[in-house]
């Protein structure tokens, strides 16, 4: 097991190194940067700034500097906001996490319950309806459903605020503050849940259908166990087990924010930070963000693997 982990860790490091090079090159190759895009600056001033930020150095040297700093926990300095990238991440990431955590929880909860029930009642009208809704949820363009719900629920009916985290100019504190945030969260959380719940429900439904057919479910019934026990003790555990591998894959979504949703709902998260930095070509921040997601993806995959090995008694020994 420990040699396995060592191997995985080495491979992880190699992949991340390659990813960093690719990400760096992509952004570095993109013509135009924060300085050239700024029309207020004189050519002399631009050259001076380039010198300061090291933008006139050869590509590889710049990469080496970037990586060296990254190893020391320094992901650079945001040109647009004049603050360290990591500090900015720290400011915004928790807003993203709040949104993602609530919607991930809702998504999993709904998916497990609906998936199990519809698998158990396979071919019933309920199951067919669930299948249709699953496909609908999987086929929604994220930005469109966001806009559509804002239009209907916020603009037309005025039930929920259209965006942001707080009402503009609000300085609520304590409970009032929490209430206001929840009020603003509702719409983005609903949209994110709708977008995620389709494929996950389908996953649990398929797993459960597969498990119900197994011999050991027949054994459990032959023992005279109550149907609830057969379902929740014998079937559900086996159906949930493979889902453990998905937990790790949720990691980038939990901390990486959602570019589209946060942009549409004007939610002050890391995804929106990326989108606004994108239009001004704030490269240190953009690279830092992309690298952050890559790191989260790799760690998430590792966690998934390890969890799978821990959870399944059949592979636990190896």
């Amino acid at each position: 097991m420990s040699t396995y982990i060592t191997k995985r860790l080495i491979y992880m490091a190699v992949i991340l190194l390659a990813a960093s090079l690719l990400i760096f090159c992509l952004y570095a190759l993109t013509p135009g940067d924060f300085i050239s895009g700024n029309i207020k600056l004189t050519p002399e001033r631009k050259a001076e700034l380039r010198e300061i930020y090291g933008l006139n150095k050869p590509l590889l040297e710049r990469y080496a500097t970037w990586m060296n700093n990254a190893f020391h926990g320094n992901f650079g300095y945001s040109l647009a906001q004049q603050r360290p990238v990591l500090t900015l991440f720290n400011d915004y990431i928790w807003n993203s996490f709040l949104l993602a955590a609530v919607s991930t929880f809702l998504t999993w909860f709904i998916a497990v319950v609906v998936g199990v029930v519809s698998a158990y009642k396979q071919y019933s009208w309920f199951d067919t309806l669930v299948l249709l809704l699953i496909f609908a949820a999987m086929s929604l363009p994220s930005f469109f459903i966001g806009l559509f719900l804002i239009k209907v629920l916020a603009v037309d009916f005025k039930w929920l605020p259209p965006g942001g985290m707080l009402t503009t100019g609000s300085n609520a504190t304590g409970m009032a503050y929490i209430k206001e945030v929840i009020h603003h969260m509702a719409l983005p959380v609903i949209v994110m849940t709708i977008l995620g719940v389709g494929s996950l429900t389908r996953y649990f439904r398929t797993n459960m259908i597969e498990v119900i057919k197994q011999d050991y479910i027949r054994t459990a019934r032959a023992k005279g166990l109550k149907e609830g026990k057969v379902l929740y003790r014998h079937a559900l555990r086996n159906a949930l087990l493979p889902a453990i591998t998905l937990v790790g894959f949720e990691l980038p979504a939990l901390f990486g924010g959602s570019l589209i949703i946060e942009k549409i709902f004007n939610w002050p998260g890391i995804g929106q930070l990326y989108m606004s930095s994108f239009s001004v070509r704030d490269y240190p921040l953009l690279m830092g963000f992309t690298m952050l997601i890559a790191i989260l993806t790799v760690i998430g995959t590792l966690i998934s693997d390890l969890l799978y090995h821990l959870a399944d008694p059949r592979v636990r020994l190896h």
């Binding site: 013509p31 363009p141 239009k151 603009v155 389908r202």
Partner: protein, 311 residues
């Protein structure tokens, strides 16, 4: 001591019966099963309708020339303009259908390209294994590590900076989508190939001393066809969605070439968003209807072609 099932007798019998009447081919059987799946059939009908409407519909529209007519700009739906007009006085319904042409073409073409790349690279990796496999799959791993959306955004920005003419952007968007999509497909094809290799009939092919190319072309690839068809179908929906996101954010196909995604861009204008929903809701619903129909059809295909794949 054991009473064996009369395998040999049964095999002989089935051979006899085969000469008596020809069993319907596997493809015909699959088609019959598919026709029984109501959701898949309705999916197919909707997709077919969308294609016909988008590719033939504009021919019957009196507004297909997109003449700018300021006197009728931003009019709500009426008998003359079923879905109203936009800020240049163009008929929205006609625009939606014309946009559908582009969106469907981008979806189809980028699917074809990513399926081609994915199958080729996945098959090479799975068949030759060793160093070829290592190189291809490590590249795939790398691409899967880097988040897709930022990758697409950067590429979209590159296009804008390089001042790619808007006419060509459409083709480059297809290319971009395929580059992001192939690793997942390649992984799947490779996995399937590796498991096929281990099966009895491949051992037989090895024992018979067949050549590499023959083994790959005549024995392995035909077994991958159902998987490829299913993946291809489901991939179109994904490609249409990705294209719409890119174009919505102004990084994909750009106006004046209309696509469903960049038409929804109207929603970025506060007044259009709040007061002129006919500008951006129809293209959104078109994406939704097309993608759900493709997915329902693809899922039906998966059921009949490759039940093992069900996920």
């Amino acid at each position: 001591m054991t009473l064996m099932e009369p395998h040999t007798a049964r095999a002989a019998e089935s051979q006899k019966s085969e000469t008596r009447y020809k069993k319907p081919s596997l493809w015909k059987q699959a088609l019959r099963h598919l026709l029984r799946n109501k959701l898949a059939v309705s999916g197919f009908i909707v997709v077919a309708f969308m294609f016909l409407a988008c590719f033939i519909g504009p021919l019957f529209s009196p507004y297909a020339d997109n003449k700018i007519n300021m006197s009728i700009m931003n009019k709500p739906p009426s008998w003359q303009h079923w879905l109203g007009t936009d800020k240049l006085g163009r008929d929205v319904l006609t625009r939606v259908l014309q946009a559908g042409r582009i969106s469907l073409t981008v979806g189809l073409a980028s699917m074809a390209l990513s399926v081609f790349l994915g199958t080729l690279l996945g098959a090479l990796a799975g068949y030759y294994r060793g160093i070829v496999d290592q190189i291809i799959m490590r590249i795939a791993d790398l691409l899967l590590t880097i988040p897709g959306l930022p990758l697409l955004f950067i590429s979209g920005a590159l296009l804008s900076e390089w001042k790619v003419p808007t006419d060509y952007r459409m083709y480059i968007v297809m290319l971009m989508l395929s580059l992001v999509n192939w690793p997942g497909l390649a992984r799947m094809i490779r996995g399937q190939l590796l498991s096929l290799r281990e099966q009895e009939f491949m051992h037989a092919a090895v024992v018979l001393g067949l050549r590499d190319r023959r083994k790959l072309l005549h024995h392995l690839l035909p077994n991958l066809v159902p998987l490829i068809i299913v993946m291809a179908t489901l991939n179109i929906g994904g490609a249409i969605l990705s294209e719409s996101v890119l174009s919505f954010f102004g990084l994909g196909v750009m106006p004046p070439t209309p696509t469903w995604g960049n038409m929804i861009d109207a929603a970025n204008n506060m007044i259009d968003f709040q007061q002129r929903p006919w500008l951006w809701i129809p293209p959104g619903l078109s994406i939704f209807a097309t993608v759900i129909a493709i997915n329902l059809f693809g899922d039906g295909l998966r059921d009949v072609l490759d039940p093992k794949l069900k996920r």
